[in-house]
Every structure is written in structure tokens, then in C-alpha cells.
Amino acid sequence: MAWWDDGKGKGYSKGEKGYWERPPSGPSKGLPDYYGDGYHGYGPPPPPYPRSLGYGKGLTGPNGMGRPQSYGQEAGAKGGKDSQPRLRRPPSDPDLKDIPPPPLPVRMGKSGRGKRKDKEQAAEKGDMPRGAEKDSKEMPKQKSKDPQWKRKDDSGKEPQRGSAREKIDVMSAEVRDDNPYSRLMALERMGVVEEYQKIRHFSVLIVGIGGVGSVVAEMLTRCGIGKLLLFDYDKVELANMNRLFFRPEQSGLSKVEASVQTLRAINPDVEFEVFNLNITSPDNYELLLDRIQEGGLDEKRVDLVLSCVDNYAARMTINQACNELGQIWLESGVSENAVSGHIQTMIPGRYACFECAPPAVVAGGGDENAIKREGVCAASLPTTMGITAGLLAQATLKHLLKFGTVSNFLGYDALGDFFPSYSMAPNPECGSRQCRRRQQEWTDDPEEMMRKYCLPDVPGNAKEPEMKEESGAELHPDNEWGIVVEGSNEDTAPENKKEDVVVDTKGASVADLMASLKSLG
């Protein structure tokens, strides 16, 4: 046993920096206990993770989620046969002489199978310039004639540096250095995605083009999404340069303008529509509703709304819009101290909406006021923001192209290297009327709702929220200690007392009241 191992396999112990503890469950914030174990989310359950492969003897610690025992130099330092199993041993190992090495993964690059064949053919026909060495039988006619991604310099000149590529009509799976989609289309061959080209029919609306939103937009652009609609009212500043995507020379430009500049150059196949405005004001809210409903390709509804905003008001606004329209959206957020983030799948009426359970309270498990820091508004790190953006873009692809599991809530705790995932049932007493209406729809006809939201019908795809009954009384029939659950409002609402004054308009009209307010000066 190593000097740092206490034998309990926890990695960190309580009180130490980096120790992560599951937030206390129970209705301490007036919310039901949403933490359940087991599988949550939709899509097929993920395969069991091979826990002993190269990473010590399995993951242990609280809830089996601690740090691997072999973390650090231990595995390498020990060496020898009794050390952790390794994926590949050096050929000098005498034990390995008679065991053939594992097959190498197939690479689809230059030495890939297809290429070699082409090369052989080319050799038979004599030297052919690259780009012409193509088997016409394998390719659609139109493309074999003049591949759309054909380099302009096929005559032998070096490609002009910095030149933008032309638009491509159809995504091709052909493995070529100059096909921007070959690695994406390979997802089909690898059996991950059924039909990758479908991505070109999807449109995604992103609100907030900051540290997370801009990176998500870039990822989706590189993936060849059909259309992106970007909303932001901020400008690029040098203070943003600790995050990804924007460049110093873009400071002063509006964020949407700067991003569309970059994104168009990266992938001209993607359509863009950008709005430099704040969605919370009434007029702009109407515009947001309109763009969700008709902003997609061919004026259809957009397929997904992504929230990458940094404030409560904007999140609530998106929540309302999507509850109102019955639109699936993904929430994302990075904590004020920049060391944790989360993404959340919002299916109106099926999972908790933002008004049912604001994630900061739930995920933190404590008083949101406690995260207040003196000084500037918030810290940020390109790492945490990039990871959160990656999780969000990944969930977007999984949701749109229907592969893997899309969790309801996925957190990232940078200090503890922990990714909690669970789902939250909606609050039947949610303050949003629209949310309650959507909940009713799910209760009435879950099958119909699954169709309406185009959710894959696979095992593990819970038609109802996965939570157990939350009616506290039955859970603990013998309340020996007389424990009572108090409302959560007390410490945050000092003015909510019995002697409160309630407003009385005394039957005055708006005009009267406005006049008397004015006359107070």
C-alpha cells in the first residue's frame, strides 16, 4: 500500500481541498429530493465502463466515483508483473514473446485502405495528379467529374495560404485530405451515427455568444450544422481574451458580428442569422419567439435552442419562451468561481424547468448567496468554459443525430474531477403556468409527447420522470423526532412577515397613479 493510500480508496478525504461530497439531499431548499441513482436521461443506457483497464483496480471512493487508485506515478513507478495491467507491454518483456501484439486500430488517413487501392490503380495508369485518382464507380457522377472540394492547385502549385474554400452541396464520406467532412462522415462507418448528413437539415438557435456560446457555435459550424441563429447584445473586449474563440483585433465589434466573420470563413456551408440585441425586453422577446418558430431552414421551427447566457434574467426569458412554445432547449452554465459547470436538457413538462429548480441552487446544495465574492462580477477560465462548451455541443449532436444518452443534468466539478449526472422531475407547483400546462400534457399522453418532441423510443427512455414519489408523509411514516420541513424562504426573504403591508390601489386609474408619482418631485 502506498504512503498516500489510506486503504479506503477515497483519494481525497473530507476537509481536504478537492474533496467532493454529494450535496445534501432532502428538501432543504423547499425542493423535493431529486437525486436518484441509476440511469437517467433518454437514449439507450451507456455500456458499462471497463473499469480495470489500465486504470488500477477500479474506481472506488464515495459512490464509486473517487479518484483511481493508480493516479499519479504509482503504476509506472512500480513496474513488474504485479503492477497494474497495461494496455501494451514493451516487446522486450519475455512473457510477451509468444503473444501476438493486439491489432492496430485502422487509420483512415493516407495509409488507409481506400487510398492504397487508388494508388495502385494510379500506378497502373501512370502518374496521375492527386484529385483525379478516383474510382468513378464508387462516386456519384456529378462529383467524380468535378469534386466540389477539389483544390484549385491540382496542377501542382502549393495551395494558396489563407484562401477560403468554396461551398459544398453534399457531404461526402470520401477519405481525402481536402474533404472537410471525411472525419465526420467516418462516424457512420464506425457505427456511432446512422446518418451524419442529416446534420445539414438542422438549425440551432444560440442565445449568448460568450465563453461557452462562441465555442459551441464554432464546434457546430465545424460539424456542418445547417443553420445557426446567434443572439447577443455584447461587444468583444480585451477582457474576453482569457476565453476561446475571439481574437484581440476583433475587440469593439459586436460579438455576433465578430463570430459570424470567423465562422463563415471556417465553414461557408452553414447559414447564419445574427441578432445584436437583448432578448429580455418585450419587443425582442417577440422576435425570439418568432425566430424559434420560423427561423430554421426553409422557415421551419428551429430544432434546438441553446442557452449560453451568464445571467438569471436571460435564462428565465429563454425558459419562458421555450415553455410557451414547447421547445426543447439546453441550458449551460459555468460557476462564478470558474471551477464548475453544467449542462441541462430542458424538455418542457418532462424535466424540471428553470423556474421549477434553478440549477445553481440545486447543484450547489447550499445557499446561493454564499457564492458571493467581493470585487469583480465573476471569474472565468478557458478550460472550464471549453469543457462546458464541449459538453453542450456534444449533447446537441447526440440529441439531433440521435446517438448515445442525453442526460437531463450533467455537471462538471473541476476541483474533484467529478461529473455528476441525474434527472430532475418537474415541480407540480412551478411558478410558470406554461410549465404546469406542459406537465399536464406529459401526464395525459406521454406517447404523443414522445412523438411530438421526436424523442427516440428506446429502452431506458423513461416516459415519465424517473423520480420516486416525493410525497414526504409516506416516505417516513414514523417520524420519531418530529422533524418538520420548513419553507426555504425564511433566510432569503426578511420582509416576508405577517405584518406585511399589501398594496392598495384604491381604485385609482393608471393615469391618476402616474400623475401622482410624477407630482412627488
Binding site: 447584445y233 455584447d234 461587444k235 437583448n278 429580455t280 425586453s281 418585450p282 425582442n284 422577446y285 417577440e286 445571467n311 438569471y312 434574467a313 428565465m316 426569458t317 425558459n319 419562458q320 462564478e336 423556474e355 434553478p358 441552487v361 446561493e368 448567496n369 457564492i371 458571493k372 465574492r373 470585487g375 469583480v376 462580477c377 411558478g431 410558470s432 426555504s488 424562504n489 433566510d491 432569503t492 426573504a493 426578511p494 420582509e495 416576508n496 412577515k497 405584518e499 406585511d500 403591508v501 399589501v502 398594496v503 392598495d504 390601489t505 384604491k506 385609482a508 386609474s509 393608471v510 397613479l513 402616474m514 401622482s516 408619482l517 410624477k518 412627488l520 418631485g521
Partner: protein
């Protein structure tokens, strides 16, 4: 708790609202009446306590509000333009108070001069929908914000007194 007793006492005297409606809802007129009545009461309270510190009025449909607020520091009165819009999702979505003249002068502000309230004000607002209105937002968000930021900005020389030193009536 981050609010001092004086603020708490002032807030407790502002009448609570009851209609949950935003500018897009049919009941908005009722809500607007309540807002106005509460504001009138609050201004009157402030005057009685010799702590009059803002004036606002709205456009016809009550969605855009403009006015001034002031803060007294070392017997000098510093006045700032105040404006805000009622968001579409109001009151579930809190209002965002703007001090356009201070835009870019302090990090505790979003672009456009919106003061940064997410940490302490948003959670409080959330637990008091629909009881809180504009008057509550001013007393719980703008008041403490001015008290925390303005002296600091004056010390830093970012905010200077306009025109002649106008003695304050204490």
C-alpha cells in the same frame, strides 16, 4: 444576511404586490397600478425618513421607465440617470436596472450600464415573485449597489461631482 437593518426596515414598509402579470399578459394594467401605488408609498416613506433618493416615471404602457437617482457622499450630491425596461417575462424575470452614465466605469456592471445584481438580488427576487415590484427592486438592488459602489468610484476619481458643489440639506 447582506442587507442592513435600515434597508430591511425600509423594504418592510413597501406594500407587497399580488398580481402576477407582465407586459404581455392581460392583467398587466392591474399589475401596473400596484407597481405605481407601491412606488408612491415608497417615495413618501423615503421623504418622511429624510432619505429621498430617486425619481422615476414610465411611458404610457408602463414598460419603459426613466428617472434619476442620487447618492450623497461627503455632503455632495451625485446624481445619475436611471432607466430600465420591464422584461417580457416579468415578474418571474427581474428587471435590470441601468445607469447609462456609469457604463464602462465599473466592473460591477454589464454592457449598457446594467448593474450587476445576479448574486445577491436575483435569488431574493426569485423567492418573492410576484410580491416584489419595482419599488422593492430599487430599494434592495439599486440602493445597496449605489452605497457600495459610488463612494469607491468617487475615491478612485472615476466619478466626479458635476458643476458647483451643491451643499446637501441634511
Amino acid at each position: 444576511m447582506m442587507y442592513d437593518d435600515k434597508t430591511k426596515a425600509a423594504v418592510q414598509k413597501i406594500p407587497l404586490l399580488s398580481v402576477k402579470a407582465g407586459p404581455r399578459d392581460g392583467d398587466w394594467v392591474e399589475r401596473l397600478k400596484e407597481e405605481l401605488a407601491a412606488l408612491i408609498q415608497y417615495v413618501q416613506n423615503n421623504k418622511e425618513n429624510d432619505h429621498d433618493w430617486f425619481r422615476i416615471e414610465s411611458n404610457e404602457d408602463g414598460t419603459r421607465w426613466t428617472g434619476t437617482c442620487w447618492y450623497v457622499h461627503n455632503l455632495l450630491r451625485y446624481e445619475f440617470k436611471l432607466q430600465f425596461e420591464i422584461p417580457a417575462g416579468y415578474p418571474a424575470v427581474p428587471i435590470e436596472l441601468e445607469l447609462p452614465e456609469l457604463d464602462g466605469k465599473t466592473p460591477k456592471m454589464y454592457r449598457g450600464g446594467k448593474i450587476c445584481l445576479d448574486i445577491h438580488f436575483a435569488p431574493l427576487w426569485r423567492t418573492n415573485v410576484p410580491k416584489f415590484g419595482i419599488a422593492h427592486a430599487l430599494s434592495l438592488a439599486l440602493g445597496p449597489w449605489l452605497a457600495a459602489e459610488i463612494p469607491y468610484l468617487i475615491e478612485a476619481g472615476v466619478v466626479t461631482h458635476k458643476g458647483l458643489a451643491e451643499p446637501c440639506q441634511v
